[in-house]
Symmetry: C2
Subunit: 225 residues, 2 copies
DNA sequence: CACCAATCTTTACATCGTTAAGTTCGGGGA
DNA sequence: TCCCCGAACTTAACGATGTAAAGATTGGTG
């Protein structure tokens, strides 16, 4: 009778065992992150909200980093969903591409603390190896982006190139726009006016122009000392 | 005889007054940041290195955020220098553009903790207003990027468009590449092999292709609810 | 020469992440 | 059915952190 869904829904505090603490921590952590921001996110505060002692997390997560990694993992999942929603079977494919790009940026604008966390791994070698689920979720979101790109390639709407390489260009571009906007380097993000949509669309159309033109041979610049 | 450069060079501890604590904190802070990373950067450790009590900083900085903002400000200055170094009077202009882009990404690869700090402002409205020097330094670095772009425009090597708009595309692109690489989302950054140079060059050439093609009219997608 | 304001120190406080040891519970084996 | 073992949780404590308050020390100005 463990992990009973009924008990999980009712969520009545029955003294000791919570029943589904791990999920509760992640879900409440998402809320707390959006409210308090990345730097003011504390385990004790989170535990207080869930109604549990601060040390209880350590039965489910190795440390704070593991909790944040789990939160970032569902963040990437939600990002992937936000991108997939824009996929249609009808209509202008190029327009769909622009809409997906705008959906990506909007995800960051609407949930800046979560987005920053997702791209704020402190020491990359540790995170890459320690949290394979994070890596998988991130690659899945990336795959949605490249998937649409491959679709455009098959229809001949953009040049035929390596989907990984050109997909990286797309990802870097939308991620760069998002990051600049939510860190305040682009002023148009201060209010939710349609201005950022214009900026993003214009920038993505520029990138699309490059994806239309044929690829040129790549020469490596001399390695720096 | 205050702020005497000789005393500043000799740096002998004369009991109480340090002489040039503010600069010493920023300079040593840059080193500490690269060694320890962003999350392990502590004021007490920094004060220990400079040979001063932990509370001494508060005579020069309002809080930790102000210190980090000062560090990020010189970081943007050094980034601008790294970009300007690539400017030449002779040679292929497009090639120079690619070299500057690679210099940008290399800056982030070589000093990831500093670069992350520069683009990690926690709450944008506060930072934008509180630290005008930071804003100015960031815009100066951005201006170097757009300056080269304007040069390309005057020579007719790219389309004639709004330098601010197209400059943002360039900045977003190189920043996105840098960010993805140093957060471990692009695997090629694990070792300092010439691979990232190839990736970056290829991606920037794609963007250049878009900057060559004529701009299309911008239509704003319907605002989401 | 005396004083003032800036600079720096000591001390203290609340909070944080994390560990250690003890408590409570659920469920599988007898 | 009961018992008991391991997982899930608690309380208590530790060291470290950012920061405020109060006092000591200085260099330059009157």
């Amino acid at each position: 009778m463990k992990n009973c869904p009924v008990r999980r829904l009712i969520q009545l505090k029955q003294g000791y065992h919570h029943g589904d603490l791990r999920n509760a921590l992640v879900i409440e952590g998402l809320k707390l992150l959006e409210q308090e921001g990345h730097s003011d996110f504390s385990l004790r505060d989170l535990a207080r909200r869930v109604g549990v002692s601060a040390a209880a997390l350590y039965a489910h997560f190795a440390d704070k980093g593991a909790l944040l990694a789990a939160i970032a993992t569902v963040g990437f999942g939600q990002l992937r969903e936000a991108l997939e929603v824009t996929i249609r079977d009808e209509g202008d494919l190029m327009e769909q591409f622009l809409h997906m790009g705008w959906a990506y940026v909007r995800f960051g604008i609407e949930r800046p603390a979560l987005y920053k966390l997702m791209f704020a791994s402190e020491d990359l070698p540790a995170k890459c190896d320690e949290y394979p689920e994070l890596e998988a979720a991130a690659e899945a979101a990336f795959g949605t982006l490249t998937g649409v790109l491959e679709h455009l390639q098959r229809r001949g709407l953009v040049r035929a190139g390596d989907p990984e390489t050109d997909g990286l260009s797309v990802w870097a571009h939308v991620h760069g726009l998002t990051s600049l906007i939510i860190t305040g380097r682009v002023e148009c993000a201060c209010d939710p006016a349609p201005q950022p949509a214009e900026v993003v669309r214009s920038s993505l159309e520029t990138l699309l122009g490059g994806l239309r033109s044929p690829a040129r041979p790549v020469r490596v610049p001399a390695a720096a000392p």
